[in-house]
């Protein structure tokens, strides 16, 4: 495997083990994240893709232990730098949020407090973790970041509504950088930006990651962004990770039929094929189908798929998938 994984002594920055997150709703228990295992290494960008409602945001929020009520992390482990954050006290957890793990949200319009000036956001965040930093120093740090992010520092005194959407999303990044987060979770950071602004923002992200060796989990259903930025990609379906691998091989030769269908429904990635819209609906997480959860929509579904859950296997080096097509080494690729 590549050198990234050797760096950081081979110990992943973040390890998810058998993570389960459930929402206790009036109509029943929704298992939004189901037994997820995932390792994230220092300095890599991992794309997390999947259809709407498959549990991406829930997974992201779980990393900060901020799953919204009525959701709860019901079992599993989240090891950050080798330590299980699920065992931390609320205070210790708070120290982690920001300086260690940071989050960027989908809608920059609503992610900033409309009654608070931008500089106060910075001062508040910085001083929440280090009381010894003076207000002036905190503002100075914010101004430096603004410079880096390409915003005029005098906009620091503005209120959020005075900034454009793109600027606000940069501010969100700035807030994450201000605390030197080791891991940034970006949940659809560009969804609400228009195309041009999105392109600028992606350039900024690329630039930043080169500079800071940022570790980023990029949640999105925009495959294009993942293809551009991600080193590795995890594909989620109905609360489970169904495929994981380096971005190049995964896009070139997807192993899981769901990934295949997902890529097939996106223009510009596989130009040689016709655009296909995936049939069917993602399953109801209140009562997911038995066996492989994708079987009702899978063109390759077999009897076995309806009864037994497919095993999580490393089919090619560093390329994992959960699908019966590859049981006992039957097949090497989907289309081959």
């Amino acid at each position: 495997m590549d050198e990234r994984k050797q760096s950081g002594n081979g110990i992943p920055l973040l390890q998810l083990r058998d993570l389960v997150v459930e929402y206790y709703t009036r109509s029943g228990v929704v298992r939004a994240v189901d037994s997820v295992d995932l390792d994230i290494y220092k300095g890599e960008v991992v794309g997390l893709v999947g259809e709407s409602g498959c549990g991406k945001s829930t997974l992201g929020m779980a990393l900060l232990r901020l799953v919204r009520s009525p959701g709860k992390i019901t079992s599993g482990k989240i090891l950050f730098k080798g330590k299980d954050i699920l065992t931390l006290s609320e205070n210790a957890m708070r120290d982690l949020r920001g300086p260690e793990i940071s989050m960027i949200f989908q809608d920059p319009m609503t992610s900033l407090d409309p009654l608070q000036r931008i500089d106060d956001h910075f001062v508040e965040s910085i001083r929440a973790h280090d009381k010894h930093i003076s207000k002036e120093d905190a503002i100075k740090r914010a101004a430096e970041l603004f410079d880096l992010l390409g915003i005029a520092p005098d906009r620091l005194q503005d209120y959020p509504h005075q900034l454009s959407g793109g600027m606000r999303q940069r501010v969100m990044i700035g807030l994450a950088l201000a605390l030197d987060a080791d891991l940034i979770v970006a949940d659809e950071p560009t969804t609400s930006l228009d195309v041009l602004v999105e392109a600028q923002f992606l350039d900024l992200l690329k630039d930043l990651r080169r500079r800071y060796n940022m570790t980023l989990i990029l949640i999105t259903h925009n495959i294009g962004i993942v293809a551009e930025l991600a080193d590795r990609v995890a594909v989620m379906y109905a609360g489970e990770i169904v495929e994981l691998g380096d971005a190049g091989p995964l896009f070139a030769e997807p192993l899981h039929p769901y990934t295949d269908a997902l890529l097939g429904s996106v223009p510009n990635i596989k130009l040689d094929e016709e655009l296909k819209i995936m049939g069917g609906q993602p399953p109801d997480l209140l009562d997911p189908p038995a066996g492989c959860r994708f079987h009702p929509r899978c063109p390759y579904a077999m009897d076995r798929c309806r009864e037994e859950e497919p095993p999580w296997q490393e089919i090619q080096p560093g390329h994992w998938a959960a699908c019966w097509l590859y049981a006992e080494g039957k097949r090497e690729t989907l289309h081959g």
Partner: protein, 338 residues
């Protein structure tokens, strides 16, 4: 728009509102029952006397002329003269004398309303579906159904008659104790003049009436705060603030509650009007010598100019308060200001 031009626009906008309100008072009181002199005087009053009164009050002129006269008088701060108990005494003079007492009571009560309402509402929202939530919601419904004057009577019974802790009537034990008049509000005046015995005495008298009136509207604020707080706790910026590791207290108070307070503020003018209505009843319950008791007392004397004048004064008060609330709103919400 700058804050200054906003305020100027808002002041200009108050004028039509004021005009409509005082017009309303004029027509409702003048047109509805017919002739105020007949309505006021007992049957059998000599005709000559009635006519004299009509003439004195300008009631023999055409209604539109009366209306214009009334507006013109109002614009110059004149509210007519009393018929009884002291004939010829300017109504405005009485109103100004009574106003500080009402203002003092209303302001303290409003403070209590907001403190009780906002804290219970915010807590209920924060602990949604907890026992505290259900308790405070129930409280908000029940307290609103309790007549404010009865609440006052019950407090008088418990804290005045049985426990002897607090006085149940008036603003001060002895007028000789009253502080030197600066604003007319005893509490403020005694602080300004450093008159502590008077402060303590006035405060003791103020406690029961202001708690009564304060609790009266607190239920409405519990509900308002709860629903707005539920809404703002759901907002992304609250989650985002938590995700930056900001302390829970700060997230809830400085971000969620502060934002929830903005829509509450926009309703504050209306609530203050309700509070004034409650003040009339509270003043009567506690023999508090303010505008409300003055109004009721003059109704007893059948003193029409005083009645009309007091109601018009309340109308002006409502317009001014709604203006102040809007200015405060603009000051607190940057989205209005810029």
């Amino acid at each position: 728009m700058s804050l200054r031009s906003y305020i100027i626009t808002r002041i200009l906008m108050t004028i039509p509102m004021l005009l409509v309100l005082v017009t309303l008072v004029f027509f409702i009181l003048r047109v509805m029952p017919g002739d105020p002199v007949l309505a006021m005087m007992r049957p059998g009053t000599p005709k000559a006397y009635l006519n004299e009164l009509r003439h004195e009050m300008g009631l023999d002129k055409p209604i539109m002329v009366q209306y214009v006269d009334y507006l013109w008088d109002l614009a110059r701060g004149r509210l007519g003269t009393s018929l009884a108990p002291v004939r010829g005494r300017p109504v405005a003079k009485d109103l100004w004398a009574k106003f500080p007492a009402t203002l003092e009571l209303s302001l303290t009560s409003f403070l209590i309303t907001i403190i009780v309402g906002v804290s219970t509402g915010a807590y209920a929202a924060y602990k949604r579906r907890s026992a505290a939530d259900y308790t405070f919601r129930l409280y908000s419904i029940i307290i609103y159904a309790i007549p404010v004057f009865w609440l006052g009577l019950m407090f008088q019974l418990i804290f005045g008659v049985y426990l002897h802790w607090l006085p149940v009537a008036g603003r001060i034990d002895d007028l000789a104790l009253a502080p030197k008049t600066i604003t007319g509000m005893y509490l403020l005046d005694s602080v300004l003049t450093g008159n502590w015995p008077s402060f303590v005495n006035a405060a003791k008298h103020l406690i029961l009436p202001s708690v009564t009136l304060g609790l009266y509207l607190s239920g409405i604020f519990t509900r308002l705060t709860r629903s707005n707080m539920l809404n703002s706790l759901r907002q992304d910026f609250v989650t985002a603030a938590r995700a930056r590791g900001i302390s829970e207290n700060r997230v809830v108070v400085r971000h969620a509650l502060k934002n929830a307070f903005i829509p509450i503020l926009t309703m504050m003018g209306l609530q203050f009007a309700l509070l004034l209505a409650g003040a009339v009843l509270t003043e009567s319950t506690f023999s508090w010598p303010g505008l409300g008791r003055f109004l009721v007392e003059r109704i007893g004397y059948r003193d029409f100019p005083s009645i009309q004048g007091t109601v018009a004064f309340f109308a002006i008060l409502v317009a001014v308060v709604s203006l102040l609330v809007d200015i405060l709103y603009a000051y607190l919400d940057p989205r209005i200001r810029y």
